[in-house]
């Protein structure tokens, strides 16, 4: 059979009736008439009844049915009755199936005007709400920790150990790499300046103090936020999707005690240890660069040893503790509040990392300012 172009022709009779003839092949890839082009013609003739005829119709597929469906929906809105019995039997049948249920009209939502989204009051309210939610979550965690302290919490020690292993030993490789490199970067940064004064030996002080007080804790925290914080959000988000969190709640177990507390404690236990490890490797990294500048290892160790001060170690450890809590809170909160679809889980993981990094930087600045003022 030779293919022929798809055509429609509208015939009016004198009794407000109309007949629509379909002809040609209505298949994918051929040029078919668009319903929107035909619509004005139909509306202008305003018939009461419309008879569809498929006498000259060749092959047809979904594109033909899509045309018919738009036609039928339009006619239904305008009370034009349609007779499709003269179409091929299966097309008639499919059209009946497709038109049994009226199209659903989604409720119209008024999108707020552009200026309303910039309203500072609303924005502040949003920030206040976010802060309140975070504080509420922190409160729940504190209550759960309290119950844990008196031995009433439903927290499993085996969970805690598993998470410790995931957050600790499993992170060694990436922490080793980043901290050696950060130590080297610190040394290079200082070396350029110090060489101008012939004070290369102070590179050791710079690296040791820099790593202990600042970079060791911060870099570890940023790596862990991306690694473990995101993992927590994804785990809890998936559990939310699978209704596991609901199952836990209906067993009378607090999800915070069962899911959040072991994760947070594991991170709090592991982060300071990882930070110590990062500090050591960072100092070694700095030593490599110092060696390249002509400082002997013995000189580097001597100068570095003199720079170590318990105050620096204390500040670094305090930071790593605070950072661990913040990463765990950001990750677990995003996960627990996640929506129930795969997209929502991805969003929760992203949110966890972004929030954690923002928290980290703010907390770091705050701690630095505080200790600057205290003179520690």
């Amino acid at each position: 059979m030779s293919s022929s172009t798809a055509q429609i022709q509208l015939d009016l009779d004198n009794d407000h009736g109309a007949k629509l003839h379909f002809a040609g092949d209505w298949v994918e890839g051929s040029a078919t008439p668009e319903y929107l082009d035909f619509r004005p013609q139909l509306l202008a003739s305003a018939p009461n009844t419309l008879v569809l005829s498929g006498e000259g119709l060749g092959e047809w597929d979904s594109i033909f049915m899509a045309f018919l469906l738009q036609l039928c929906n339009d006619c239904r809105e305008r009370d034009i009755s349609i007779d499709s019995a003269a179409l091929p039997a299966s097309a008639h049948r499919l059209l009946q199936v497709a038109t049994t249920v009226k199209p659903h009209k989604p409720p119209e939502e008024d999108s707020p005007p552009l200026l309303a989204t910039l309203n500072p009051v609303a924005m502040l309210k949003g920030v206040a709400e976010g802060t309140r939610d975070s504080l509420a979550f922190m409160g729940e965690v504190t209550v759960a920790l309290g119950r844990l302290a008196v031995g009433k919490a439903n927290t499993r020690f085996s969970d805690f150990l598993t998470f410790c292993y995931q957050a600790g030993p499993n992170a060694f490789a990436i922490i080793s790499l980043t901290s050696v490199l950060v130590g080297m970067i610190l040394a290079y940064l200082g070396a350029v300046q110090l060489q101008q004064f012939g004070a290369e030996i102070y590179v050791a002080d710079l690296v040791v103090i820099g790593m202990l007080r600042e970079m060791g804790a911060l870099m570890t925290a940023i790596v862990m936020a991306g690694r473990t914080g995101a993992a927590y959000a994804a785990q809890l988000g998936t559990m939310q999707t699978n209704e596991e969190v609901d199952a836990i709640s209906t067993m009378g177990i607090s999800p915070v005690e069962f899911l959040v507390v072991p994760r947070m404690l594991a991170l709090v236990a592991m982060m300071p240890l990882l930070t110590i490890y990062a500090n050591i490797l960072g100092i070694v990294g700095g030593g490599i660069v110092a060696g390249g500048m002509g400082i002997t290892p013995l000189q580097y160790i001597n100068a570095g040893e003199a720079a170590i001060d318990s105050a620096h170690i204390f500040v670094g450890m305090l930071k790593s503790f605070v950072f661990a809590v913040l990463i765990a809170v950001a990750g677990c909160r995003s996960g627990i509040n996640s929506g129930r679809s795969s997209a929502a889980v991805g969003q929760a993981a992203t949110e966890a990392v972004v929030t954690a990094v923002v928290y980290l930087i703010i907390a770091d600045a705050a701690i630095n300012i505080l200790f600057q003022q205290l003179g520690i």
């Binding site: 594109i63 899509a66 049948r93 038109t99 989604p106 997209a343």
Partner: protein, 258 residues
């Protein structure tokens, strides 16, 4: 047409995971235009058989032929071509949760047809209308009910006007009324498109309501022990297990000596 009525031919199929044989020596035909049900007790390998038919698992022995052409000895490109003629719904729907219903149905059309953007939107509206979901284009799968999600999965399965439709437990988890409506919809679509329908189910109402042919897989003997119209099997099968299954165990008492 000169080609035989057998649309899908299962030839001495043996399914195994490693050394563990699940079913052996399955041989049967699924005719063009059938609504064919694969039934059997839990764990007998119904879903595994379906996965073999979909080419997701390679058989340990035997072959499956579509329109007389072997699937497993065909080159990969030809296998993909054959797959384009199939529509599949999965047990849990398999809808992409990050996409709206319209985007879900659009995806196969974008991949395999030359429709332009407007035409795709029209065809998507038509496919959704067929399953009674026109107007729900911009809803995400998580925003509609379980029954609607199943129907949306059906809309995606029929997007490319497939000649074979595979359903894995289409009415699992639906209430009896939605379940019947879905059955009717499958039947109507089958009648108007002439597609062959293969479904895995153990819902007796749907088996009696729409199935025209069936196979019963037995977990104990690890092979098929019933083949034919389920109503006929219920009344005339020589195997008490099959009659028991088809009568929810009620017919067992008087026939257990058979």
């Amino acid at each position: 047409m000169s080609e035989s009525r057998a649309h899908i031919h299962i030839d001495k199929l043996t399914m195994a995971y490693g050394d563990f044989v699940i079913q052996r020596d399955l041989s049967f035909d699924i005719n063009r235009g059938d609504i064919f049900v694969i039934m059997g007790g839990s764990g007998c390998g119904k879903s595994t058989l379906l996965k073999h038919m979909l080419g997701l698992i390679t058989p340990a022995k035997g072959d499956i032929a579509f329109n007389g052409q072997s699937f497993f000895s065909a080159p990969p490109a030809r296998q993909d071509e054959m797959r384009q003629g199939w529509g599949i719904t999965y047990q849990t729907g398999g809808m992409f949760s990050a996409m709206t219903l319209a985007e879900n149905v659009t995806l196969p059309l974008q991949l395999y047809t030359d429709f332009n953007r407007d035409q795709i939107a029209e065809v998507v509206a038509y496919k959704l209308a067929l399953v009674g979901l026109d107007g729900y284009q911009d809803y995400y799968p998580s925003e509609v009910s379980g029954g609607m999600r199943k129907r949306a999965a059906l809309a995606r399965a029929i997007a490319l006007d497939p000649e074979i439709l595979f359903f894995d437990e289409p009415s699992a988890g639906l209430d009896p009324i939605s379940s019947r409506l879905l059955d009717e919809l499958i039947q109507q679509l089958q009648e108007s498109t002439g597609a062959t329908v293969v479904m895995v189910t153990h819902e007796l109402p749907s088996i009696y309501g729409i199935a025209t042919n069936s196979v019963y897989l037995d977990a104990h003997t690890r092979t098929m022990i019933g083949y034919g119209d389920p109503k006929h099997l219920r009344d005339h099968s020589n195997e008490p297990v099959v009659r028991q299954f088809l009568t929810r165990g009620l017919g067992a008492a008087e026939d257990s000596t058979a």
